[in-house]
């Protein structure tokens, strides 16, 4: 049996103390990591519930239900932050990525608890792969939300679209890593390669660049 609530308490407690002790940007970032872990725990409950209602196994839940619930749940803390605090671009980007980091950290901790920690090479690849996948999905929504859509109608529909892209990307990743051998390795490598491409392109597309009068 895997007591994910116990793991959550162990990981969340120090973060919660840090949140209470810190101020400013550091406090906000710690809160996002905590929020990411919390939504990961809640996603796990929702996945289990939906799988039970539809009567499907663990594998089907992992490749068909989990991508949907996890990506939507991951966006909820950000949506709350956005609507209540109306943050700037930098704070929001940091928030989205730190939520994804918190989510990936908790997921990896649960994986360790259920599968053991004796295969260091596999854990190294999985750790980076899962972390990169969640960060890529969060980054995708952040970039779209902050830099691509400047009108309300475009932002609303565009964000729904980008969440759908994140869900499909997550689904493809889950299908591949649920296999063994080369397929799983390709699955772990896809998000890592995406991160490399994103880092290479970082700084190039800016909202002000797109469709600004200077470029016409």
């Amino acid at each position: 049996m895997n007591y994910i609530e116990n793991i959550y308490i162990c990981l969340a407690a120090p973060l919660l103390i840090a949140v209470l002790c810190m101020r400013g940007r550091g406090k906000a970032m710690n809160m996002f990591v905590l929020a990411g872990m919390t939504v990961c725990l809640l996603s796990s409950y929702i996945n289990t519930f939906i799988a039970a209602v539809w009567g499907v196994g663990e594998l089907t839940a992992s490749v068909e239900i989990a991508p949907m619930t996890e990506e939507i749940m991951k966006f909820l803390p950000i949506l709350f932050y956005l609507l209540v605090f109306e943050p700037g671009k930098e704070e929001l980007t940091g928030g989205i990525i730190m939520t994804a980091v918190g989510f990936a950290t908790f997921e990896n901790a649960c994986y360790l608890a259920s599968n053991g920690a004796n295969e260091v090479l596999h854990l190294l690849i999985r750790g980076f792969g899962t972390g990169a996948m969640h960060v890529v999905c969060g980054f995708l929504i952040a970039v779209g939300f902050l830099y691509l859509w400047d009108r309300t109608w475009l932002r609303l529909a565009g964000t729904i679209g980008l969440i759908a892209i994140a869900i499909t990307y997550h689904g493809i990743y889950n299908i591949l890593v649920s296999q063994t051998g080369t397929a799983a390795m390709i699955g772990y490598l896809i998000p890592l390669l995406t991160v490399v491409v994103v880092l290479l392109l970082r700084g190039k597309p800016r909202r002000t660049d797109f469709d600004s009068p200077d470029n016409r």
Partner: protein, 212 residues
């Protein structure tokens, strides 16, 4: 066998279209290219998910169709592209409900009811809504380009390709209701091939539409 070949062709074409559009987006800083890249990209991801599921599990996804969700999203991005192009190129653009355009929802709702005999209700309603928007904006665009001279003519191809895309989708859905087997004689594969071709036609069409 023919289905696998067709899927491989479509994956290649959508992947190429998406990569090319995103390349043009980075180079030209035009938001229209981003929308085209996302349209083709999300369609590609949906196809890829579908194909991987078939390869690894030898069946289509039984519970929730992530691929279908992707395809609906790709229609949404194409719709956003058309709205964006129409808004950018038409002064005092606003939604006008003209009686002759009512035949569009009559057609899409009629087809939606027909498809509900085979598919789920929610998915069909979403598709009908998005297709109504796509056809409406393409027809509206074709109407507005008439009085805009050369500037308008440049956008005509984009609207025509969109209508061909919608026709190919309806051809695919209708022919899949009367499945004629995994053979080249099945008209489903012809429409699927036409759909793949339209993805490549979107590139020159948009290039012309955004040229100034």
């Amino acid at each position: 066998m023919i289905e696998t070949i067709e899927n491989a062709i479509q994956l290649t074409v959508t992947g190429l279209c998406s990569a090319s559009a995103l390349y043009y987006a980075v180079r030209s800083k035009e938001r229209a290219w981003i929308l085209l890249g996302l349209f083709a990209g999300v369609f590609f991801l949906g196809d890829l998910y579908w194909q991987l599921f078939l390869i690894f599990y030898d069946k289509t996804p039984p519970v929730f169709y992530i691929s279908e969700f992707s395809w609906y999203t790709s229609y949404l991005f194409l719709l956003l592209l058309l709205i964006y192009i129409n808004v950018e190129n038409t002064e005092d653009w606003k939604f006008r409900l003209r009686p002759k355009y009512l035949c569009i929802p009559v057609f899409t709702v009629g087809m939606c009811i027909f498809y509900m005999h085979w598919g789920d209700y929610v998915g069909n309603i979403i598709v009908a809504t998005l297709m109504t928007g796509l056809i409406w904006h393409a027809v509206y665009g074709l109407q507005t380009v008439r009085g805009q001279g050369d500037k308008g003519k440049n956008r005509r191809m984009l609207y025509i390709v969109t209508l061909v895309f919608c026709a190919a989708e309806y051809g695919i859905w209708t022919s899949s209701c009367f499945w004629m087997g995994d053979t080249i004689m099945n008209i489903y594969f012809w429409f699927d091939f036409l759909l793949s071709i339209t993805f490549m036609l979107f590139l020159p069409a948009l290039r012309k539409a955004v040229s100034r």
